[in-house]
């Protein structure tokens, strides 16, 4: 249940929105992995510089950003109307629309559709929504083999691993690691495969081409859906998406209900915002649009809630649903850069994940994520739909505290501090008492959590007099 108490959140036990351990523990382990840190720093630094240049070329970027935010806010304010309009348009064009309240229902719908098509293998376009609901596991449990066709997603799948980034799911891997994964897990791969990018791409091309030609069913996500025309859009870089969308007899698209745009013309704004923010390209290589069932294809659209209505119910949190999964906030986040995506425990990592995952699951399941930020503000600055992530993080911290997720000692300390701060006399005496620490030196033996400070930094030596003691004595 959501904090509102009556709107269901994403159910536990299915999908990938909840981590096993609290963020600080996952993060500390990730920091210890030197290869991971070097892979991440290299990749995020490169993407960051390219993105800055791509954005700087656009003279009206701030206006585009404001327009993107306004269009998405309109969608969220009238979601019911636009969803029904989308259903009507898709149905009128020969498609079938399915409504899934949560991951369990969405997985059941897709598995039933695949069974009805008598397929034992499906090709997949990279899709965050299907990762979110754990569709691959549901398909495997039903005896169906899901084949990821995006190169990075394929690396992740063959490596029996998890995506750690929206756009670059294998950002945590370098090419030597990728070669080893291909040699080990790609059927028919050359045992002497070199680690040159062209050779790795060619190996996956050969493997995937056979899959595209044989598959009877494809499963995709969607970047956008236009309510006015019933048009779905997939934006990609490799062309694998186009193969999946057009070759198989049956196409099933799983889409979060917030992915809507009201009008065809709105794509003008988003097709400028998305490529520059995500891959730092003026235009992405492949953009596919389709409206309903085309050329004899059987088309099904699964509309997924899974905690989105609960997110919409919080006025201070709902702007997280503006997100277009560009990953600009991941690339600029100093925390993500150092720990990577897996530490967040959800398919949605980084700053946007820290505000989205706890809302989709309810704060109790992801209570440490809103604290995984210094509130440095880099994410807000980079966000193409102007989501004020720092302010939202503070709001969700408040929800975590209200839910009793923080240690009782912290609550007591905060209450005591607020009591001291309510009186200048008490507060002045409290600050002056810090002087007692003067003989202890820069590394006093402090209890946790204060020992977290002294493990890597010295403490300042408390002064002989506080400012206000000086002011009272001679400053006035």
């Amino acid at each position: 249940m959501s904090d509102a108490g009556w709107i269901p959140v994403a159910p536990p036990g299915v999908g990938h929105l909840r981590g096993g351990r609290p963020f600080p523990q996952e993060a500390a382990d990730a920091l210890a992995d030197a290869t991971l840190r070097s892979n991440l720093t290299g990749a995020t630094t490169r993407i960051r510089a390219k993105r800055d240049a791509a954005v700087a070329e656009v003279p009206d970027w701030e206006q585009l950003r404001a327009a993107g935010a306004a269009i998405k806010d309109d969608v969220l304010a009238h979601l019911d109307t636009y969803l029904l309009q989308l259903e009507e348009q898709v149905t009128a064009r020969g498609g079938t629309v399915h409504w899934a309240a949560d991951a369990v229902e969405a997985n059941r719908i897709v598995v039933d559709l695949v069974r009805a098509a008598r397929a034992d293998e499906v090709v997949k376009v990279k899709s965050m929504a299907t990762q979110e609901i754990g569709l691959n596991e549901a398909l495997a449990a039903a005896g169906v083999a899901p084949i990821e066709t995006d190169l990075a997603e394929l690396i992740v799948q063959l490596g029996d691993d998890w995506p750690s980034h929206f756009l670059v799911p294998a950002i945590h891997r370098n090419r030597t690691e990728i070669r080893d994964i291909f040699r080990r897990a790609m059927p028919g791969a050359d045992p002497d495969l070199p680690d040159e990018p062209a050779a790795l791409a060619e190996a996956s091309r050969r493997y995937l081409r056979a899959k595209f030609l044989a598959a009877g069913v494809a499963v995709s996500g969607a970047n956008f859906a236009v309510a006015e025309t019933g048009t779905l859009a997939v934006v990609e870089s490799e062309g694998n998406g186009r193969m999946c969308l057009t070759l198989p007899r049956t196409l099933v698209t799983v889409m979060g209900i917030e992915k809507l745009l009201p009008r065809w013309a709105d794509l003008e704004v988003f097709m400028q915002l998305l490529p520059r923010s995500s891959t730092a390209e003026r235009m992405n290589p492949y953009t596919s649009f389709w409206s309903g069932a085309t050329e004899g294809q059987d088309f099904h659209l699964v509309l997924l809630d899974n905690g989105r209505t609960a997110t919409l119910a919080d006025p201070a949190g709902r702007a997280a649903l503006r997100c277009i999964r560009c990953s600009a906030c991941l690339n600029v986040c100093p925390v993500y850069e150092r720990v990577g995506g897996h530490a967040y425990g959800s398919v949605y990592p980084g700053p946007i994940g820290a505000v989205l995952s706890p809302q989709l699951t309810g704060i109790e399941s992801n209570a440490t994520l809103p604290f995984a930020s210094t509130l440095c503000g880099a994410c807000y600055q980079a966000c193409p739909v102007a989501i004020d992530i720092p302010t939202m993080l503070v709001h969700l911290r408040e929800r975590a505290v209200a839910a009793g997720a923080e240690p009782i000692t912290e609550r007591a300390a905060m209450r005591a501090m607020a009591w001291l701060m309510a009186s200048p006399r008490r507060w002045g005496a409290g600050l002056a008492a810090l002087r007692a620490g003067r003989p202890l030196g820069p590394r006093p033996p402090l209890p946790p959590p204060l020992s977290g400070w002294t493990s890597d930094r010295d403490l300042p030596r408390p002064p002989a007099r506080t400012f206000r003691q000086w002011w009272d004595a001679e400053g006035r």
């Binding site: 607020a418 701060m421 309510a422 600050l431």
Partner: protein, 237 residues
């Protein structure tokens, strides 16, 4: 507005702010009633418990013309959090008073450059200095290059560029305790870049970031020392 960190741990920063403003011919008052802006509570999720702290802050500064603090972070809290918190608590009168106070509260470089119209404050500081612009000065207040313009006008000061200066130092208030390992990893990178400048001093406009950077410099045995913008601007021949 003497921030709680300056009051209790870095009083020299407060004294320097007073000395600088007096040298420029202004009357400086330090209201006895002030304690803390409540930012730590708010940013740690204890906003509702800090409404009283905000009310106390607004009352303590009720009789002022202009308020200045040597901290972008605390001014950011006053400007962007106080009124919102009061509204959330249903106290519209407090929200209005907090908004009025926020409108006359400035970070030090904003006050000097925008309100007083000075960039050369007549300071003398014969050192090689690198500047760490804090996250909240850049991305919450948007002070831009104001501190740099002030530093460039200081006689004897040699300003050296800090690589990736806009990157966070890793402090983040209680983040440094809750996610101590990540905070330390961010600090490591900042320290490496400071070392690459060969500067004698790492200057910044917030005592909190300087406590993090200074704590790391001290632990690593670096010869570079932390210094607050106010201390540089207050220094004379």
């Amino acid at each position: 507005m003497v921030t709680c960190l300056v009051d209790g741990l870095f009083p020299d920063v407060g004294r320097a702010t007073v000395a600088l403003l007096r040298r420029l011919g202004h009357v400086v008052e330090v209201p006895d009633g002030q304690t803390c802006c409540g930012q730590m509570h708010i940013n740690t999720g204890y906003g509702p418990a800090a409404v009283g702290v905000v009310r106390h802050h607004v009352e303590a500064f009720a009789a002022t013309d202009v308020v200045v603090a040597p901290s972008a972070s605390c001014v950011g809290s006053v400007r962007h959090q106080h009124a919102a918190l009061a509204r959330q608590a249903g106290d519209t009168a407090l929200a209005a008073a907090a908004e009025a106070l926020a409108a006359r509260t400035y970070e030090l470089s904003e006050l000097l450059v925008d309100v007083l119209g000075v960039t050369d404050v007549g300071a003398y500081y014969p050192h090689r200095v690198t500047w760490h612009p804090t996250c909240h000065s850049l991305r919450v207040l948007g002070v831009g290059d104001r501190p740099r313009r002030l530093l460039e006008a200081v006689e004897g000061l040699q300003l050296v560029d800090l690589p990736d200066a806009a990157d966070c130092c890793g402090f983040g208030g209680t983040f440094a305790l809750k996610n101590a390992a990540v905070s330390a990893a961010m600090l490591d990178d900042k320290l490496r870049r400071i070392a690459a400048t060969g500067a004698e001093r790492c200057a910044s406009g917030d005592a909190s970031c300087l406590m993090q950077i200074g704590g790391g410099l001290s632990r690593s045995g670096s010869p570079t020392r932390p210094v607050h913008l106010a201390e540089i601007l207050a220094a004379t021949r």
